[in-house]
């Protein structure tokens, strides 16, 4: 008898596809959060596999802060078209115009926190009862206790102390009217797994992930790209550096790393040697020790 063993990437893929299909089956109106970041690209790739040869049975949803790199937006639109998916864009600017979100002021102002308002508004407006996210448990300590099917009350809040136990492959997506679920198919992937999977599958990424030259400033130890959203403050020096991004967030908060890795192979060796977590240069996580848990409780991704 031959050996019926699956590699770890095959096991993670089988699990993620199972979760994606389970979401389509258990909910009436799911949406898949798509930011054109690598985790959401991997999730969309898996979703395409899960329902092939049919199209995705749910739309891609982007909560757009308006502070994205243009490369990100171009990639987003081209990708949705390529896989034939419906794309729904929710603009943080609309929430600000409505007065439901208020722009932060000061030197570290960002629209990161405001995304929660827009996300919850778009969930309510479109009556999404499940929102698929690319969150991984290895990213951050509050995420380590996140469920695959994570229940949210009718205010969109997460109650980490009162989570439903998850056993075997049995997921309980039952809910009361007004409540919804966040679903995380990539829960058991690590950053390294995501890169190895992308390499194996030949997944294309926005150019920002690869090393390139860019004007940057260094602020609180974080390298930020100079753009229409990030201008050097008094005393800050603009430098030209060879950098790449390990995560894809707002231009205002996403720190770059100095790097020569301009191919996926080089990035993988860089990730393997990395001594800092990938969110280590996200200014939004640095606000306090439990800033991720606090934001997640309110309804963040």
């Amino acid at each position: 008898m031959h050996d019926y063993n699956l590699s770890h990437l095959d096991q993670l893929e089988a699990e993620a596809i199972f979760i994606l299909r389970e979401t389509a089956a258990q909910f009436e109106n799911p949406g898949l959060l798509f930011s054109a970041g690598k985790d959401s690209i991997v999730m969309a790739h898996l979703a395409r596999k899960a329902f092939y040869p049919a199209k995705l049975p749910f739309p891609l949803v982007h909560v757009d802060t308006g502070h994205n790199f243009p490369e990100t937006i171009d990639f987003r639109d081209a990708y949705a078209e390529k896989i034939g998916a419906r794309l729904q864009v929710a603009l943080v600017q609309d929430s600000i115009d409505r007065g439901t979100a208020v722009e932060e002021t000061g030197a570290n102002a960002s629209r990161n926190k405001l995304q929660t308002v827009t996300l919850l508004e778009t969930i309510e407006e479109n009556q999404y009862d499940a929102v698929l996210g690319g969150g991984r448990r290895d990213e951050e300590k509050a995420r380590a206790k996140e469920r695959f099917f994570s229940h949210r009350n009718d205010f969109g809040e997460w109650d980490p102390k009162n989570q439903r136990p998850e056993l075997w492959n049995l997921f309980n997506g039952r809910k009361q009217p007004g409540e919804h679920f966040r679903v995380f198919p990539l829960s058991n992937f690590t950053e390294m797994d995501v890169w190895m999977y992308m390499q194996r599958e030949g997944i294309e990424l926005p150019s920002l992930y690869y090393a390139h030259e860019r004007d940057v400033v260094t602020r609180n130890g974080v390298i930020l790209a100079v753009s229409e959203f990030v201008q050097p403050a008094a005393g800050e020096v603009v430098e030209r550096k060879r950098i790449r991004f390990r995560t894809m967030g707002d231009a205002t908060i996403t720190g770059a790393v100095e790097s020569d890795a301009d191919t996926m192979e080089k990035i993988i060796s860089e990730v393997a040697a990395a001594r800092q977590t990938e969110r280590g240069n996200r200014a939004d996580d640095k606000r306090s020790e439990t800033s991720m848990e606090d934001r997640k409780k309110e309804g963040y991704f």
């Binding site: 089988a14 299909r21 049919a54 290895d138 300590k141 509050a142 136990p165 049995l170 977590t277 280590g280």
Partner: protein, 414 residues
């Protein structure tokens, strides 16, 4: 590279967090910024040493109270294997968390304090591992540094454990290792402090233990999860049955029966997106097409015709109760089993198990939070199942409260 999922149960005093911290640290899975963050937070609390437990205790409430209250998942990898740790609290009031962590594990690490030997907690953790059918157990006799690395102490504990464990029939492989998590003895490298120990280090064992036989590759089971109907011109007549294989091996041409309808057909093709497979086995996620047009929907099960599962509305099972409201006979619940959901009524509570002594209490009239017992269920629609002993996927279920939607219990069919 393959994958090993293991669970650890223990309380702060057992050195469980130190052990996990040690595994993460020695496999270089702790990043500088994580280490800095916990150094800073240890300093703020006035701890003398860097408290590695802070790495594993993620929630605010846990950090405030210094305890683990939930299951946390940790990841590390060596060049040989990727590991997922389900890190669970060890006290009796967290039995449900231990059961949850154990449900997806191939291996359990049971920690024994060398100064205390085999205690109630050891038996409880072993009982849960056995109940959840974890076939591989590592008994890590920790804090050997505090008993002068004595072989006599270790041998005594091993003998005690083995005589107790002879009653645990699911566990087929028990490995005992003397360690000191604090000093790193026998964690990654063989310890020079214990030359009398001839076995492998903990990490070496975790890297090499064979767990390929844990899935059932004999009885072919395919619970239908979703029906793929593209409704496009190119794939006009395509009807693919999507799901995750729960047992056995399927090949194109296999004669299959669909439950509950009883119709038979043959497997036409097996797909993983564009790729056609020559065979598919548990736990792959695939899509299958059949030669004949049969009405099949979510909750149905495609099985090989010569080897069907049991089909019944009367289910005998061991359950662990998760809710603050005790279970009583005649309670009505929703049961979720494979991809099927149906109503059920609890006919009787047969007995509960004292998880410390493993004694059966036959006169029980209820099951309270964290208690484990045997019940009889009557379901509204028949289930297609195997015993949990034979197949974890088709022998497990959860119970759900129809009023509050909360998950009430985990069940294992006898």
């Amino acid at each position: 590279m393959d994958l090993l999922r293991f669970t650890t149960a223990g309380s702060v005093d057992d050195g469980k967090s130190t052990l996990i911290g040690r595994l993460l640290y020695d496999s270089k899975s702790i990043f500088e910024d994580q280490l800095q963050a916990i150094e800073e937070s240890s300093r703020r609390k006035g701890d003398e040493n860097v408290n590695l437990a802070l790495l594993t205790d993620g929630l605010k409430a846990e950090r405030e109270q210094g305890i683990t209250i939930d299951v946390a998942y940790r990841y590390f990898a060596t060049p040989k294997r990727k590991f997922i740790i389900a890190d669970t609290p060890g006290h009796i009031q967290y039995t449900r968390n231990m059961v949850t962590g154990a449900s997806t594990a191939n291996l359990a690490i049971i920690l024994i304090d060398a100064r205390k030997g085999v205690i109630e907690q050891t038996k409880r953790h072993s009982f849960i591992a056995n109940l959840l059918r974890i076939q591989h157990v590592v008994v890590a006799v920790n804090k050997m540094d505090l008993v002068d690395y004595s072989q006599d102490v270790y041998d005594g504990i091993v003998e005690d454990y083995k005589s107790f464990a002879s009653r645990l029939d699911s566990i087929i492989d028990i490995r005992t290792i003397p360690i000191s998590a604090l000093n790193g003895d026998n964690i990654v490298e063989r310890s020079e402090n214990m030359p009398w120990y001839g076995g492998s280090s903990l990490l070496d064992h975790l890297e090499n233990v064979y767990v390929g036989g844990d899935e059932n590759h004999v009885q072919a089971r395919f619970p239908v999860q979703w029906v793929i109907r593209p409704q496009s011109n190119e794939f006009h007549d395509y009807r693919g049955f999507a799901g995750r294989i729960a047992g056995g091996v399927f090949k194109p041409g296999d004669k299959v029966t669909v439950m509950p309808s009883g119709f038979t057909s043959r497997v036409k093709k097996i797909h993983q997106d564009e790729t056609e497979l020559g065979e598919a086995f548990a736990p792959q996620s695939i899509a299958m097409t059949l030669e004949d047009e049969i009405d099949i929907s979510r909750g149905d099960m495609i099985v090989k015709a010569n080897n069907p599962p049991h089909q019944s509305q009367d289910i005998e099972a061991m359950i662990c109760w998760f809710s603050n409201t005790p279970l009583l006979a005649r309670n009505k619940v929703i049961i979720r089993h494979t991809t099927k959901e149906t109503k059920a009524i609890v006919q009787a509570i047969q007995y509960k198990v004292d998880v410390n002594t493993l004694h059966k209490q036959e006169d029980s009239t209820d099951l309270k939070l964290n208690e484990i017992g045997r019940i009889s269920l009557r379901t509204a629609a028949p289930l297609f199942y195997d015993s949990y002993q034979k197949n974890r996927n088709t022998g497990s279920f959860i119970l759900i409260d129809p009023r509050t939607d909360e998950t009430l219990a985990a069940g294992m069919i006898i």
